[in-house]
Symmetry: C2
Subunit: 520 residues, 2 copies
């Protein structure tokens, strides 16, 4: 399937159904298709073609959704930019991806101008905001008004449809190249397992639309004919209000959003009766938060999706029926679920051998959703895709029932005295201490053990805690070889990536300056 075929199908069979709903503005599917077909023609008329890469830097909106369809309709390649990144980071990905056109909205007027000045490739800025187009940019609405609808450009299912930059916890962000087939197979399997398929139901884009988590589920809901509802950006209030006002049935949230929802005052009195599912994913969900969410929103079903950009992004799904604390299907809440319908998953040791259930190794995944490769990075592609399988960089194990359990990033595992220590497990243990705000566990060089477990700890305000107290807390909860051998306290926040992950490599670096880690 071509990306835009889902839009075409909806325009053909649900022409008068609301396709997009943003604030007070609504468009039927026929209108959305018409706008997209005109905007695409506008793109072609300013020179866009098959090899044109087109970036989007904007908050969520119906126009963002139109851009995601317009770009492939014109045969071009979409490059959604991370709205949390600095100008420098986005400049890197704009240059790297060789984008010549940039869509932007009211939030990014200054940034867009700055990017245009600093990036030689960019020939056109297109404004998708709500006012007059700023000087130096084209108006998206005029592009639509001044062009006739064009037929979608024919392409091949394996053609590149988009480049998606990954957070890059290590070094420069990488451009993940995905095809029409990649995105479609991932999305159809997501909605197939989730039963998100009643046309006329409503999906809320609450997570940022540049992110493959929202693109994956969101595109799936387009395939199955759901009305697309948008809020510019996540706030607990906006989500709760919109669910009620627009009778939303499905929403994707990342774990931190769920956490914020739970502390929102309006949640208690909210009428969430329309909401069938909250899909969560993109980063690990602490079990306590999940249980609390299940308790506070008892009428809502929870579904977990685990994936990464390199898999478009589906790897595993934990269906709603496993979100229970009792009965036959309990005990899987900490699992990331089972492989999606199009995905094969293996757990491998360092030599590439497949490990049996229960043993921890690197998660490898395979299917029609495996990316085409990294943009202009053949070396990284070759070390990531081996015989068609993606090495995910995540460590985990499968249980006897085929459920995947994540334990750590492979690079964050610590090998100490021949034993594997998963930083996530030690961090979880530390998080149980009431005085500890957050902690990071890294491996540092040790002449005796190869690597030693090192903890960096931030305490809650006005709390004190000694090294010995922390070690005793750990000894009471985990095996001795996992207990930190050294501890350092910090006041300042930990360095984070744009996607909200800890930059452990930055914290590890000073310790390893003149040495080389076995895993890197």
């Amino acid at each position: 399937m071509f990306f835009y075929q889902a839009l075409q199908r909806n325009a053909a069979i649900l022409p008068n159904t609301i396709g997009t709903s943003f604030g007070d503005r609504e468009h039927t599917w026929r209108e959305v298709e018409n706008r997209v077909a005109k905007a695409a023609n506008g793109l072609v008329n300013i020179g866009a073609s098959k090899n044109t890469h087109i970036a989007i830097l904007a908050l969520n909106s119906d126009k963002y959704f139109e851009c995601l369809n317009t770009i492939p309709w014109a045969g071009s390649v979409m490059v959604p930019l991370n709205i949390r990144w600095s100008v420098k980071e986005n400049l890197y990905s704009l240059n790297d991806s060789e984008c010549s056109i940039l869509f932007f909205d009211d939030t990014f007027i200054e940034t867009a101008t700055e990017l245009m000045e600093q990036c030689n490739n960019i020939t056109h800025l297109i404004y998708i905001g709500e006012n007059e187009a700023p000087a130096g940019s084209l108006s998206y609405e005029e592009l639509i008004a001044n062009n006739e609808p064009m037929k979608a450009v024919q392409c091949d299912y394996d053609d590149l449809v988009g480049i998606f930059y990954t957070g890059g916890t290590t070094g420069f962000p990488k451009g993940v190249m995905l095809s029409h087939k990649n995105l479609w197979t991932s999305s159809i399997c997501l909605i197939s397992a989730m039963e998100i398929n009643k046309e006329g139901d409503r999906y809320l884009h609450a997570a940022p639309m540049f992110h493959l988590a929202d693109i994956g589920i969101g595109y799936g809901t387009v395939i199955s004919g759901l009305t697309q509802v948008f809020i510019p950006a996540f706030t607990p209030e906006a989500v709760i209000d919109t669910i009620q006002a627009k009778k939303v049935n499905y929403v994707l949230l990342v774990p931190t959003m769920v956490t914020l929802m739970l502390s929102a005052k309006s949640l208690e009195s909210a009428d969430l009766s329309s909401l069938q599912n909250i899909v969560y994913g993109a980063s690990p969900m602490p079990e306590g938060i999940l249980i609390s969410a299940m308790e506070k929103m008892p009428s809502v079903e929870f579904i977990q999706a685990y994936g990464q950009s390199e898999l478009s992004p589906l790897i595993t799904i934990l269906p709603a029926e496993y979100h229970v604390l009792e009965g036959e299907k309990s005990g899987k809440l900490r699992s990331a679920g089972r492989p999606g319908y199009c995905v094969s998953v293996e757990i491998r040791d360092n030599d590439g051998n497949v490990l049996p259930p229960g043993e921890v190794g690197e998660i490898a995944a395979y299917g029609p959703n495996v990316m085409l490769g990294y943009w202009k990075n053949e070396k990284q592609t070759q070390s990531t895709i081996i015989d068609g399988w993606v090495l995910t960089g995540d460590a985990g194990y499968m249980d006897e029932d085929g459920f995947l359990f994540l334990v750590d990033r492979v690079k964050d595992m610590i090998v100490t005295g021949g034993e594997n220590v998963f930083s996530a497990e030690v961090e979880n243990t530390l998080s149980l201490h009431p005085k500890i705000l957050e902690s990071i566990i890294i491996g540092i060089p040790s002449d005796e053990w190869g690597e030693a477990v090192h903890a960096i700890i931030r305490l809650n305000d006005n709390e004190t805690l000694t090294e010995t107290e922390i070690i005793e807390h750990c000894k009471a909860n985990i095996a001795n070889y996992k207990v930190p051998r050294s501890i350092e306290f910090r006041k300042e926040p930990f360095p984070m990536t744009g996607a909200g992950k800890y930059k452990k490599n930055e914290l590890r670096e000073p310790f390893w300056k003149d040495k080389s880690r076995a895993i890197n």
Copy 2:
């Protein structure tokens, strides 16, 4: 997705769940995979490779299912043969498809021997029956016992996985070539729209397994991890008994099977509480039968699928919620439903222009499920696939809500005095007369009108009816230009294809001997 990847996934995540159930014999998914991996090695050891075509001629069974997986596992191409065809017809398709290996069961021992004698290509017969392998054939069970499991042969998603011979209402059967991608995309969309996705649920193969209707839905249920239940051949009793004994949740039936179910005595007292859905399709379902089935099986949901081999086979789906006689979603019961998630559908006039809702034309369909082409028949391929779209040969229209209504085969439409007459409509009208058993409407040459409407009628036993009475019945129900201009009575059954369709071309032939039809 490769065809066998669904089996691999089930073996990996549901190893101890029952995969196949046939009579008293059950295999877990791990066992099924193991048997398939060994049998595939057996095939390779007798010379099977990527270009080897392997036929199956057998009733339904767990071993038939294993063959469907074993053949692509070995990298070879499956050719399931029509069990209703004569030796001559199957000989044609065996020769045409250049098969060198033939799987057969107890029902086809004689036929297999005959085919082996007459077909020079065949080098090996493999017996998948329940007894000792007959002389001159290899034993499938020995193939499994004597070979180690092999890894599945790597291939490309676009590689040919099977050749499926179509009924051929006109001339020789055609070999439809389908790829791994074709079958997977059709099947995932079928189960996605039907919500057939709870692993551990059970699907019953009651329709013949050589037919793409059962292969399409059946493969979908393998993708979603359902246990596969088999009966050798359809009888109403076998279906009703098996549903009860094995707690079957889903079954695919063709309309004639539904009709037979309704007259089965055991239906009234049957406990069908496990049965969630009857999927029906493969030929038009008379509305009266459908309503009667809905009344007699009120706890069961009905879903219609319309397709053809050239689309692997999905074109449209009529979901359960439209199987109602009252309310907002009523009025669609005579529709074939809306396009599947991967399918685009257009209605076209003779010049290829797209027609608006309500107008009748030829149904064209497009998607990743479009066949690779007809085997060794480039000419027919080129006249069937135009710019990637399949011309289905079916005439129909779409309503304003995107529901497709079939009216006739294009070739069976009659153009008389500039008006289009759909033979199916006239036949439906005749079927309402209590004295008429069945009827066929064809166009015959007319100097005055180009074509004239001609009826061939079989009356119920011991009934009489005059030409005038029939014409009056028609005039009371349909427009004058649709009323037959000539009528002929027959006692003997109408000529049928192996797939149970009328051979109208054979009935038309004597009238057109020295003339040429505009549509042909």
